[in-house]
């Protein structure tokens, strides 16, 4: 056996040792089992688990994942000077790989000046208006905001979600929970009816998932573009013939916090690929 082969073998060994955490439960191939007895789910599964094999493959391959086109958009914007202050995101935050790592896990967070939750989209727009003196991105689903969200959240790719209920965020978590279990719309259904009681079951063409948020913004094959979490909330509200709320509304921020908590243990998969 030549030296080269030995090194290669050693390398492979090292790689597989490094790769072991991937085999740990992240809700993709193995469910996360919550320790808390009162947790609403006995197994926590990512939407990935319920997706078709081809869809999973498209997500897994960094070069094939169509959502990564928006990552490139976000990366360009990160370094682009805009606004009266003559700054880019990079002027303050430098290298996103370091400064934005783990940031996705903190949102939505309690924001003192507002005395309520702030979503990551809103935080990004605050940086634009207050620090850069630039215009805010128009909509959660504008090309720019989707790009920036995917770029920033991707820096936490593979990190496990670990939302803690604290004295500060508890009232908002409670409000989100109430919303989750409340029947609404002409069809009179709650989120739980589909995503807690019926995950894994077919609903005509769709296999219901647990409605987890860990992959957002997700690239939707149906739309050929990514969609924000609040757009998904609106879609699920409209599906039951209920009047949806505005993206970035307090109601949806609270729901987002509660939903993130329900996904504790799942890893950030942004940009996930879905039907």
């Amino acid at each position: 056996m030549g030296r080269k082969t030995l090194i290669a073998l050693g390398g492979a060994f090292l790689l597989s040792a490094l790769a072991t955490p991937v085999l740990a439960a992240d809700g993709k191939t193995k469910p996360v089992i919550p320790k808390d007895k009162d947790f609403p789910l006995s197994e926590v599964w990512s939407g990935y688990h319920f997706a078709k094999k081809e869809t999973q493959a498209a997500q897994d391959d960094e070069f094939d994942n169509p959502g990564m086109l928006w990552y490139a958009e976000g990366e360009a914007l990160w370094n682009k000077v805009e606004g009266a202050a003559g700054k880019s995101c990079a002027s303050c935050h430098k290298d996103a790989a370091a400064s934005m790592k783990g940031v996705a896990l903190k949102y939505p967070m309690y924001y003192k000046p507002w005395k309520k939750l702030i979503s990551l989209e809103q935080r990004i727009n605050l940086c634009r208006t207050e620090k850069m003196k630039a215009k805010p991105f128009k909509d959660f689903d504008s090309k720019e905001m989707l790009g920036m969200m995917i770029y920033v959240k991707r820096q936490s790719h593979g990190m496990p979600i670990n939302v803690k209920v604290t004295a500060e965020n508890k009232p908002f978590w409670e409000a989100g929970k109430k919303f989750y279990y409340e029947r609404r719309g002409m069809m009179d259904m709650s989120c739980a009816h589909c995503h807690e009681n019926n995950y894994g079951n077919l609903l005509r063409m769709n296999t219901l998932s647990q409605g987890q948020s860990n992959g957002f913004p997700v690239y939707r094959l149906k739309w050929q573009k990514p969609g924000s979490l609040h757009r998904r909330f609106r879609g699920c509200n409209k599906q039951v013939r209920a009047k949806p709320f505005k993206k970035g509304s307090d109601v949806y921020n609270n729901l987002e916090l509660y939903l993130a908590w329900r996904g504790n243990g799942l890893t950030v998969e942004t940009p996930a690929v879905r039907n």
Binding site: E182, R183, R184, G185, M186, M187, D188, M189, H193, C194, N197, N198, N201, L202, L203, R204, M205, L208, N237, K238, R241, A242, K243
Partner: protein, 187 residues
């Protein structure tokens, strides 16, 4: 003074214009609840009905909502229609799956793709009386309080219902009767 007369005249005119507007033009203004093509009946109002005691379950609606029997052929249409009953989104029905012609995508789109959320409906007519089936479609929460199944003939109260669905029902009285008639064939 002249001004007041003018204003009065204008007000009178506008009242006249409104009341003389053809009924169809007024109806066109209000958006249908969920389907343009099915608007007429889909936007129907809730009928009055009486709840009686059932045989297999506590409650039943024994009288037809229209006073007439329904048409099972139409019932099948409403059951598979995604904007109306869409019952097969949740319920598998072997009798309907049989209508899928192998290799015919159109028949598959229409009669195929059954869900797994509710129980299979084959044999449902042997488990329930006609009145019980009617009750289960009109308001299944009277039977299963926590169910996901929507009430197909109930006009509220609902939380944050879509504006143009207010005061309306998912299936009109005659459509409920058609669906009951079809379910009665599932012995």
């Amino acid at each position: 003074m002249q001004r007041t007369y003018l204003a009065l005249g204008a007000a009178l005119l506008s009242v006249f214009a409104l009341s003389s507007m053809p009924a169809t033009a007024q109806a066109k203004k209000a958006k249908p609840c969920y389907s343009k093509t099915l608007a007429e009946e889909a936007d129907a109002k809730q009928a009055k009905y009486k709840i009686s005691k059932g045989k297999n379950i506590d409650v039943a609606i024994n009288e037809s909502l229209t006073g007439k029997p329904g048409d099972p052929k139409k019932g099948l249409e409403w059951i598979v229609n995604r904007k109306l009953g869409n019952c097969i989104a949740c319920h598998k029905v072997e009798a309907i799956l049989k209508l899928v012609k192998p290799g015919d995508l159109k028949s598959q789109a229409k009669y195929g793709f059954h869900g797994e959320v509710g129980p299979e409906l084959d044999g449902v007519a042997s488990r329930y009386t006609e009145g019980e089936l009617r009750m289960l479609i009109v308001d299944p929460k009277k039977v299963f309080p926590d169910t996901i199944m929507p009430a197909f003939h109930k006009d509220g109260p609902f939380v944050r219902i879509k504006e143009n669905c207010k005061g309306k029902v998912m299936l009109s009285p005659s459509r409920v009767e058609d669906v009951v008639a079809y379910l009665k064939t599932l012995k």
